[in-house]
């Protein structure tokens, strides 16, 4: 565990880094009349692409060497995805999927599956 001192420093730096990400477009384009077309083009699609990559990054621990946890991740993720495809409430999707995952990893129900 990181020492409290280091933690506090990390938090300050993380706050600054986060602020910078939100500040960048205003620094780059704040006083310009027109935003270059290629930036407008990228702007449309970046949020979607980054979301794909963030999801993949969250699920990268899925592997054959770790079947119970991988299965729990897969099942819970599918649950979240299906729920959110068919209804609009984000909380329902997140809450249900998380409870399911916590149940699966805490009860070790999937541990009997070993190839």
């Amino acid at each position: 565990m990181m020492s409290l001192n280091d933690v506090l420093i990390a938090i300050c730096l993380a706050a600054i880094v986060t602020y910078i990400t939100r500040l960048i477009p205003f620094i780059l384009f704040g006083d310009k009349k027109r935003i270059p077309k290629i930036i407008l083009y990228i702007e449309k699609f970046i949020p979607g692409m980054i979301m794909v990559i963030l999801v993949m990054n969250s699920l990268k621990t899925i592997s054959i060497s770790n079947i119970p946890q991988s299965l729990a991740l897969i099942i819970s993720s599918i649950c979240v995805a299906l729920l959110h495809f068919y209804q609009k409430n984000a909380l329902v999707s997140i809450f249900t999927g998380t409870i399911l995952y916590m149940f699966l990893v805490q009860t070790n129900i999937l541990n009997f599956i070993n190839f």
Partner: protein, 232 residues
């Protein structure tokens, strides 16, 4: 309080109500998680006050307990928040004002605030900086509030929180599906998926985020002709 002040705040509360529920719940889960990690109780609300980025905050608490190096923490915080770089693009004009709270408007531009303020249903008489300020402020306060209640709760009640951090993965999946529902062309999603796969297979683990993003954007630019015709 003057009558039109009360009316104004009624509208702010009505507009931000959905965010209240979301931020309270996830903030609550976050507070529980931090309280469970053994650090001082005040840490979580502090993070929610100064960092104000749910995904990054969840990620960071995991790094603290795992004793991760500071450079790695900061680069991942930057990456996970990199989508915020494009949010500001939609607000260049709206936020080109000379008010004292302009830095705060920029600071508090989260996914949900972005979604709320770019939505189509802001009545004309309220489409102004003062409105943006109070919406942003209230959302921020909801987040801090949820976190605080979470740590207080976690302080008095201990229960097994194993797997709670899946909430973050779930949040990303939800955000992804909302993006999928909104965009007609699925090609950018495919581009990102393929880039991600390539990086996972050949690079694996830690560096996958940055390189996938760079790779995706490069391929996206190559596809410009096709995609611009698709959208119009």
């Amino acid at each position: 309080m003057k009558r039109h002040h009360i009316e104004f705040f009624k509208i702010i509360i009505k507009k931000t109500a959905p965010i209240f529920f979301g931020y309270f719940a996830i903030g609550f889960a976050y507070g529980l998680l931090v309280e469970n990690s053994g650090y001082p109780t005040v840490l979580a609300p502090l993070m929610s006050l100064f960092i104000y980025a749910g995904a990054a905050q969840f990620m960071i608490i995991g790094f603290f307990t795992a004793n991760t190096g500071i450079t790695e923490i900061l680069s991942l915080v930057f990456l996970i928040n990199s989508r915020h770089i494009v949010y500001g693009l939609s607000f260049i004009k709206k936020y080109s004002i000379n008010k004292w709270f302009k830095p705060y408007l920029i600071f508090s531009l989260t996914d949900e605030t972005y979604g709320l303020l770019t939505g189509s249903d802001i009545p004309n008489e309220h489409d102004n900086p003062k409105f943006y300020f109070y919406v942003s402020l209230f959302n921020h306060l909801y987040w801090i509030f949820g976190t605080t209640i979470g740590v207080i709760f976690g302080h008095f009640i201990t229960f097994n929180l194993k797997g709670l951090d899946f909430a973050l993965t779930a949040l990303f999946i939800v955000l992804l599906i909302e993006q999928l529902k909104n965009k007609t062309s699925k090609i950018p999603f495919l581009i990102a998926f393929v880039s991600g796969l390539i990086c996972l297979i050949f690079i694996g683990g830690q560096n996958m985020l940055l390189i996938s993003v760079v790779l995706s954007i490069s391929i996206l630019i190559l596809f410009r002709r096709i995609l611009e015709n698709d959208e119009s």
